[in-house]
């Protein structure tokens, strides 16, 4: 097992190292705490601190305690329920203070540590994904609570999994109701795969070089030999774990300035390190030797937050300032290719010269947000309340750009001054991108009578994208001066504020999409500028809630949501949402909640080409109009029957029901269900027809006495989705249907929709009904059916002073994908394709058990086990478990169809066993 994540150690030295790690980690964590934050329900993340073996944040007050026989209080009913009718837990007997210092601090504390062992497939991705357990000494958790009553001071610290990659620490101190400093440090591992067949040196860095046995640019023999070399090196380096670790710490100050004013400020610092599986490809049109690479992760994010809050009996005010700085410590990823890549439409490079490719990785970015919120009660105006929120935010990045290629020899036939390996080939040196957002939210709530609440709201949200990048090489010009193609090309094409060569080199120059770059021919579908996507969202509506009596209420809401988007297929969409709800808290011992929502989305005319036209070369070179001219690149962007699902007409009905029922004083039952039906009435391709998402959930909780509690739950979800597509091009020989050619998109061609002219070319050529580019006979349909079953139960029993608990969770997911093949599929392929993909299946079983046996008043032993079984079938990795290189012809003279180094998720069985000792101070 090769492991690129930090903190991994060889088994032989693990135990010894752990002792050192433990001490070091505690020290590091304490140091970090001096500079770190803790969030609240309103802002910030990191709201919980723990890990897979400590899912509940450590509570030093009651950790390890037994349930209190007297419950919350003798004056209560034996078992109490929430207002909705769910059990309140029985409280644990609080731990007694361990003592009192000379300074008057009372303290309570514990530490739980021991030995654990892992067994089975404990290195598998499924087992390790978000947790880190190894053999050896294990400090599971600790917690100390201190309090000095005469000064109302407190101090609390907790932590766990010390020295592991999922370790966590939390601390807070201050004066009750006055000020508080809270701090945390938390590590989260994220394993992406444990079966990567690594062919690279330098994983986790910005420079991936090929391992011994492989040659950049190919070994000079045949492609088949190169592929065989890759397979051999890959197989020799199998089962490499690829993942990252998030290391985040922060500190936050909360302080009351007086009875009405409060301020808070926090800072967090997160470091992410590791790598994740990534792609790479060569060529112009895409698809040349796609080979898996590894993206390095070396991120640091600083988040600063400050807020001021005011509240009195009438008014409240919040001011929040937020700043975030993301920094990628690795700007680019350079990787060596083991294949012999040939140049496509460029010159100056022969096969084998492309030895390295380069990605520009996620750029540094800055984010700022200022938000003000104000509310005022209006006691004399129908007991109303007015609320207003205004926020302004800005995301910015201005990373230096890199040139198209590192190869100085790459050139284009029709271009002079080829400088593609220099930033002089770019219209600007840095990205200069910015998106600003504005939020305005107004709300008015009125209570005309004690039983009636009315409210109205208006929300406006806007994103404004200031990206005006153009793909223009201002320091190159065209050789061709053919007056029939475009004006005077000697100095380049002058448009959008740039005079130069338009378009871009692709994938280091192994391909190009440069206007008139390869010859004097020109096309209308080359990207010439970035599309500054942005939108405005306006939401307004009203709602009412009426209490029919003490326990019954009905509510009604209407809302219209309008989007006004720039550069999308549909400029405007609007959705009307009507919701009716009913709450009954008085049916015997039950609470019933029902709601029904009907949503209807429509929009302005749908265009598949117009929104982007200004960003393609067709905007700067006129479309030919002469008979016989092929105008496809000017008028065809997308099949006009496609309706992207976030823009399409949509009718949606959602029925929600929820019942909490106290079957007996010691037995709770809950059932919750949702039926969601979605229709896309205007979609020919894309998501079509009907989509559904249904779920039903059952909960049972049984607490017959303090010694015993049992729970169980079951969830079933089923979702279906239909989509259709239409393969472009001709139906070839040997296909199910007779061989049919497309008519093409040339001026003067006669189609079933009429003769193509310059004016109607877009309408005709984008339609499947014309047979111009798409043939209806090439249509295909895919049906997805996704089902999930989750089952769980648990049992906790107290035998005198001993406690035993057992928990089991089963989760099973299956996605069935059926299809009707496209007419273009050959008979043989259709037979092999069948009527669907193999089912995607995932199954997990998790069993956990604990036995707590007190040894004396201070010491308790805990024996625990966690056993996991995971099974997965994923057709994305079919045939790739044994070889990473897939080659599409028997002779293997071509480059590989794909090199998939990740062997994919695997079945596993693994367990953790441990004996821990809990010492209470």
């Amino acid at each position: 097992m090769k492991n690129i994540r930090s903190g991994r150690l060889a088994m032989a030295t693990r135990t010894q190292m752990k002792t050192n790690l433990l001490a070091t980690s505690v020290a590091l964590a304490l140091v970090q705490m001096a500079t770190v934050a803790y969030a609240d329900s309103g802002v910030g993340q990191d709201t919980t601190i723990g890990n897979a073996l400590n899912r509940q944040p450590i509570n030093p007050t009651t950790y390890g305690g037994l349930p209190d026989h007297d419950n919350i209080g003798a004056g209560y009913d034996n078992l109490d329920h929430t207002p909705s009718g769910q059990f309140y837990d029985r409280p644990l007997v609080p731990n007694q203070p361990g003592g009192k210092t000379a300074g008057g601090w009372e303290y309570t504390g514990h530490v739980e540590a021991g030995v654990i062992g892992t067994f089975g497939d404990d290195k598998s991705h499924g087992f390790r994904r978000y947790k880190d357990v190894d053999d050896g000494l294990y400090l599971n958790n600790f917690g100390v609570n201190m309090e000095k009553k005469d000064t109302a001071s407190f101090f609390e610290i907790s932590g766990g999994s010390v020295g592991q990659d999922d370790q966590f620490y939390s601390a807070q101190f201050g004066r009750y109701n006055d000020w508080k400093v809270s701090a945390f440090y938390n590590e989260t591992p994220h394993v992406f795969t444990s079966t990567f067949r690594n062919i690279y040196n330098g994983v986790g860095t910005g420079n991936l070089t090929l391992k011994s046995g492989l040659t950049p640019g190919g070994a000079g023999g045949t492609n088949a030999a190169d592929a065989a070399n890759v397979a051999a090196v890959a197989n020799a380096n199998a089962d490499t774990e690829i993942g990252l670790i998030r290391k985040k710490g922060g500190a936050r100050l909360d302080m009351y300035l007086d009875d009405r004013w409060k301020l808070y400020a926090s800072y967090t610092n997160e470091k992410r390190e590791g790598a994740r599986p990534f792609g790479s490809v060569w060529g112009g049109g895409g698809g040349t030797a796609p080979t898996e690479t590894l993206e390095p992760i070396d991120y640091r994010t600083h988040d600063l937050l400050a807020g001021l809050e005011y509240a009195d009996d009438l008014s409240a005010f919040n001011l929040r300032l937020q700043a975030s700085w993301f920094r990628n410590e690795i700007d680019t990823l350079t990787f060596e290719t083991p294949y012999r890549i040939a140049a496509g439409t460029t010159n100056g490079v022969t096969a084998g010269n492309f030895k390295t490719g380069r990605f520009d990785l996620y750029p540094d970015n800055d984010y700022f947000n200022v938000k003000g919120e104000y509310s005022r009660r209006l006691p004399d105006f129908y007991k109303g309340k007015f609320t207003a929120t205004v926020a302004y935010a800005s995301s910015r990045q201005d990373d230096d750009l890199i040139p198209y290629t590192t190869l100085s020899t790459v050139n284009l036939a029709n271009v002079t001054g080829n400088n593609w390996n220099s930033v002089n080939s770019l219209s600007q040196d840095s990205a200069e991108t910015r998106i600003d957002t504005k939020l305005i939210n107004l709300g008015l709530a009125l209570n005309p009578t004690n039983n009636l609440n009315l409210s109205g709201k208006l929300r406006y949200y806007e994103t404004k994208n200031f990206n005006d990048y153009v793909a223009c090489n201002p320091n190159a010009s065209y050789v061709d001066n053919d007056p029939n193609t475009v004006g005077n090309q000697a100095g380049g094409v002058n448009a959008l504020g740039c005079n130069g060569v338009w378009g871009r080199l692709i994938n280091e120059g192994s391909g190009s999409a440069v206007l008139m770059g390869a010859n004097s021919a020109y096309a209308g579908n080359l990207n010439i500028a970035s599309v500054p996507f942005d939108y405005k969202q306006l939401t307004y509506g009203f709602s009412g809630d009426y209490r029919l009596n003490r326990t019954n209420s009905v509510n009604f809401a209407y809302e219209r949501e309008k989007f006004d988007r720039d550069h999308r297929e549909r400029e405007k969409t609007w959705e009307d949402k009507v919701k009716l709800g009913y709450v009954n808290r008085g049916i015997e011992d039950a609470t019933l909640r029902l709601s029904f929502e009907n949503d209807r989305r429509r929009g302005s005319e749908y265009h598949t080409h117009h929104p982007y036209a200004a960003y393609y070369s067709g905007d700067i070179v006129a479309m030919p109009t002469a008979t016989g001219s092929n105008v496809q690149t000017w008028v065809v962007h997308m099949n006009s029957g496609m309706r992207k699902f976030d823009l399409s007409d949509r009718d949606q009905n959602i029925l929600n029901g929820r019942v909490n029922f106290m079957l007996r004083p010691d037995l709770d039952f809950g059932i919750m269900g949702q039926l969601k039906d979605i229709k896309y009435p205007d979609s020919m391709f894309g998501r079509t027809d009907k989509q559904s998402q249904h779920s039903i959930n059952f909960d049972l909780s049984y607490q017959p006495d303090v010694e015993r509690s049992i729970y169980g739950f079951y969830s079933y979800q089923v979702a279906s989705l239909k989509q259709k597509g239409n393969a472009s091009g001709a139906i070839g020989a040997g296909a199910l249907s007779p061989a049919t050619a497309v008519l093409g998109c040339t001026i003067g061609t006669v189609t079933p929709m009429g003769t193509i002219t310059a004016d109607n070319a877009e309408e005709i050529c984008q339609s499947s009904y014309s047979g111009s580019v798409w043939l209806l006979a090439n249509g295909w349909a895919v049906n997805h059916k996704d089902t999930t079953n989750v089952l769980g139960f648990g049992w906790k029993e107290v035998f005198g002073t001993k406690t035993f608990d057992f928990n089991y969770t089963y989760a099973g997911g299956k996605t069935k994908i059926g299809y009707d093949p496209a007419g273009g599929t050959t008979t043989a392929a259709a037979a092999l394709a069948g009527d669907g993909m193999p089912d995607l299946k995932t199954t997990t079983h998790i069993i956990e058990a604990n036995l707590l046996v007190p040894i004396n008043n201070s010491l308790t032993s805990r024996i625990f086990m966690r056993y996991e079984i995971g099974k997965i079938d994923d057709w994305h990795y079919t045939g790739l478990q044994n070889t990473s290189v897939a080659i599409n012809n028997a002779a293997a003279t071509n480059l590989p169809t794909a090199t998939v180094l990740d062997a994919g998720p695997q079945d596993y069985r693994a367990s953790v066993l441990g004996i821990l000792f809990n010492y209470k101070m």
Partner: protein
Amino acid sequence: MKIIQHSMVRLGLFALALLFCLAGRSALAQQDQANYIGEKKCIECHKQENSHFSHTAHAKVFRLNPRNENESRVCETCHGPGSLHAKSTKDKNLIIGYTKEWGTPVEKQQEQCLTCHKGGNRMHWDGSAHANNKISCSDCHNPMAKFSAKGLLKKASITETCQTCHQQQRAEFMKRSHMPLPEGKMSCEDCHNPHGTTTRPLLKADSVNDICYSCHAEKRGPFLWEHAPVRENCVNCHHPHGSNHDKLLQAARPYLCQQCHANTNHPSAFYNASQFPNAAGNPLAGGGVLNSRVMGRACQNCHAQIHGSNHPAGARFQR
């Protein structure tokens, strides 16, 4: 005709709602006025309650450093004046209780909590999804004992508390790919503010993407080349809680991508089970033709920078 039918349905729903509103009657009980008697009097009967309550944040605040007269009333800060209750302990109208058994109206419970907890993170409680569904503060919180390390929750963790009602989401977090909630590294409150927000569904940011960027700051950009649905809403492609597919995706690739991309050539092609390799990496016998778009990460084998690219060549997200 369809429009008329639809309008009629809406009108009917609206009329039904109004009917409910107009036909109802008020039945909220009015709590009699009583006097404050002090916590010592309360503890005379409620010793056991006090043994747990004393460990809570409320107890510490009220007893050790109250900021005002109301807070110094301790038990009566939340339960209201207790003089009449002390005289007639079984009359549930004489003291505010927070259990279903006690039956104090939810509105009264909320009003009592919001006396102190006004403003701040609860600015948008009125009209929120939880408020409209008559969720009481004490449906999630139990300040009578220290059940949780923080927040006076009814369960030991935020996630457990939320999942007592949100069982559907609990199941989603058990799927093949999921956020690390079951592993204790996140809670529901990392993304949601259950007390109400201006962004649905109770998100604690100005938009869906803003909340995602909180942890995935690298995807914030903006990038030189943007991908429209990515920039607008992460949920276009991802299930935020969990999915039976890789990377929390809404559907299996390449089909997910094809729900928007019907361009010529490979985006609109039909992908199927004849395109897998065999164990030797070659096409399946009998007519198979390999296709890199069904293997591994499918479309992202080539379009690796699908969230946006800062490379001048990255208009197709390949660099």
